[in-house]
């Protein structure tokens, strides 16, 4: 693990809303090219952790470093620069409802690159085709299904060819086949674009298919209780809670 391989570092992060602490003392590292899973029971603060990593909520304590640079201590311009290297897929897609799919994907390109309108249209068509939505450029988000909105959201997240992709519950609301196709797309993005991927999820099938590094957040002790390769955690983690979670309750014989 050379310094050049470390992409995101989180040191002693504490997350709180006012005096209500959600998680404390989180420390983990995401390597370049990892598919990093943030997992835990419901209500443990997974999505909140994601918000801290993508620049939506400053930490109460601790730091988040991207490529060695501390995000929350940087100037607003430096933060904007770092944010442009992220691509974020929100849980419900969060497409801008007053713009068509093409306009949604094109916005980042229009604002941050000097490409001509024709070249932007080409890029938009490419990104939509990559997620299987070729031909839907002029549809509004309200005119397509939930699964298609997610895929459009992914196309938008990929608009600037980001280094780091963040997914918030990508499989929520998708049927098993679509979920599998999305997993394969995530693996493909990692292999071809070399992106690092951070995924918040509790879909076990996806966790084992795509994840090679992870952190497990516990709602009761309000801190992380495990980290590493999910398959290794399922087989050999010292904490029974983690093994029970990863085997859907089969270890102890009880369901849920």
């Amino acid at each position: 693990m050379t310094p050049a391989d470390v992409h995101i570092t989180v040191n002693h992060l504490t997350m709180a809303y006012g005096s209500f602490i959600i998680q404390r003392d989180l420390t983990f590292t995401v390597q370049r090219g990892d598919i990093f899973i943030i997992m835990g029971g419901s209500g443990c603060g997974k999505s909140t952790l994601l918000r801290h990593l993508i620049g939506l909520k400053p930490p109460t304590q601790g730091e988040v470093r991207i490529d060695g640079e501390s995000f929350w201590e940087a100037s607003p311009e430096a933060q904007d620069r770092l944010k442009r290297r992220f691509g974020v897929l929100f849980q419900s897609g969060a497409l801008w409802s007053s713009m068509t799919l093409a306009e949604n994907v094109a916005l980042a390109l229009e604002q941050y690159t000097a490409l001509s309108a024709a070249r932007i249209r080409q890029q938009v068509a490419l990104k939509l085709a990559l997620v299987g939505l070729a031909g839907f450029e002029d549809y509004y988000p309200s005119q397509i299904s939930g699964g298609m909105q997610k895929r459009a959201g992914l196309a938008r997240a990929m608009a600037l060819d980001p280094d780091i992709l963040f997914f918030d519950e990508p499989s929520a609301g998708l049927d098993p086949i679509s979920s599998r196709l999305l997993d394969e797309l995530i693996l493909e993005l990692r292999d071809s674009l070399g992106a690092t991927v951070v995924v918040v999820t509790h879909e076990l099938a996806s966790i084992f298919t795509i994840g090679n590094n992870s952190v497990f957040l516990d709602a009761d002790s309000k801190t992380m209780i495990a980290s590493g390769d999910p398959k290794h955690l399922r087989d050999a983690c010292p904490d029974p809670k983690v093994r029970t979670f990863l085997t859907r309750g089969d270890v102890s014989g009880k369901t849920a």
């Binding site: 620049g55 939506l56 933060q79 904007d80 944010k83 419900s92 801008w96 916005l107 980042a108 938008r156």
Partner: protein
């Protein structure tokens, strides 16, 4: 488990007996559904308490014809009562499905600290908390205005990022589409002013000065204020609803993570649209108000149209018109700020969007009237 609400009410019966000195056998028979007449728990409780040294509670449900959740809650209370008195509860006499429901209901104990107590704080406490909340709200408003001003500065330097197409659509919405309602309201306000003024002035035979009254009132204040209040209700609420819904859908978060400032992308075009359209609408409203007053002057007071026109022209000053237009630009800025602020402060539910729009309109109107008072004093001193 049976039970529908269309079936007639049945009867349930309960008998207690003592097969042995330490056991009470509760026989349940009849129809124990939510809509049926059931015995009160207190009867059983009293019977149990009347007999000392009871240690076992058993059930016999051979006579039970139908049951649903009504029986489950009855038994849960009875079992809790029995547990309180250190009695052993034997569930063998109960139907299988009922036993499983009872087991499920008690399987997960209540999580410590989850239940929230609503304690009513003393009056002074609440006054203090409301005051602190008010101070924080004023702080938020000033902070928002500050950020908006910074974004405007960026706009002047040509660095603000927003979509020009959106600005054009907003101008159409705030300008052209508001003309019908501004026409109606300003015309009628001018007519009302003329009518009220006419009654008073007629006492001195000075009806012709109705033209002065309407002209000066509309251009100095009423044109700007009425137009601003119309725009607060129509456009301020629309901005709050749109930005509030974007907050609920995480669309604003999506902008932020892309590095686009919501202030520059959403608020600046809205401020620009209102600040440029309000003076134009106000000018139009002033003219219509004068026309409205003219109608009353001609029909009710018998002033000739030419006379009314000449009198109005003599009374109006350029400074009065300018004051009205400056006020309208300020009001436009306030309406845009209030609408956008409430939209972005919106909570994450449908009810929150409703509250945001209401709050936007109220805040706009309060700010408009406050600004009107301040500006009137300033103009009086300076002009």
């Amino acid at each position: 488990m049976h039970g529908t609400t269309e079936e007639p009410r049945g009867r349930a019966e309960l008998r207690c007996s003592h097969p042995t000195a330490e056991t009470v056998l509760v026989e349940l028979s009849g129809s124990w559904r939510l809509q049926d007449e059931v015995p009160a728990l207190t009867d059983v409780e009293q019977q149990i308490e009347a007999t000392p040294r009871l240690q076992r509670l058993t059930f016999d449900t051979t006579g039970l014809t139908a049951w649903d959740s009504g029986l489950v809650t009855f038994l849960l209370e009875l079992m809790a009562f029995g547990a309180q008195r250190q009695m052993v509860v034997a569930q063998e006499g109960l139907p299988e499905g009922l036993r499983r429901l009872l087991h499920l209901a008690t399987a997960v104990p209540e999580r410590q600290g989850a239940r929230r107590e609503t304690i009513r704080a003393p009056f002074l406490d609440r006054v203090g908390q409301e005051t602190l909340a008010l101070i924080a709200a004023v702080g938020d408003l000033l902070g928002f205005i500050g950020e908006a001003m910074l974004a405007l500065v960026k706009l002047c330097r040509g660095q603000a990022r927003f979509r020009p197409v959106e600005l054009i659509m907003l101008i159409q919405e705030c300008g052209v589409q508001a003309l019908p309602i501004v026409t109606l309201i300003c015309f009628l306000v001018g007519a009302i002013l003329a009518f009220i003024g006419a009654v008073q002035l007629a006492m001195f035979g000075a009806q012709i000065y109705v033209a002065n009254l309407v002209g000066m009132a509309m251009t100095l204040e009423m044109g700007a204020m009425m137009t601003a209040i119309i725009m607060a209700g129509r456009t301020g609420a629309a901005f709050a609803a749109q930005l509030g819904t974007m907050t609920v859908n995480e669309e604003i978060d999506a902008l932020t993570t892309l590095g686009l400032s919501p202030m520059e992308f959403l608020v600046v075009p809205r401020m620009l649209a209102l600040v440029t359209m309000m003076p134009l609408l106000t000018l139009y409203g002033d003219l219509l108000g004068i026309l409205g007053g003219g109608l009353i002057g001609v029909t009710v007071l018998g002033i000739s149209p030419v006379e009314y026109f000449q009198q109005t022209r003599a009374a109006l000053t350029l400074s009065a018109c300018a004051q009205g237009l400056i006020k309208s630009a300020v009001y436009g800025m306030l309406v845009a700020l209030a609408g956008c602020l409430r939209g972005m402060q919106c909570g994450r539910s449908a009810a929150a969007v409703g509250q945001a729009t209401t709050s936007a309109v109220v805040t706009s109107i309060v700010c408009i009237i406050l600004a009107s008072a301040i500006l009137t004093v300033i103009f009086f001193r300076v002009w």
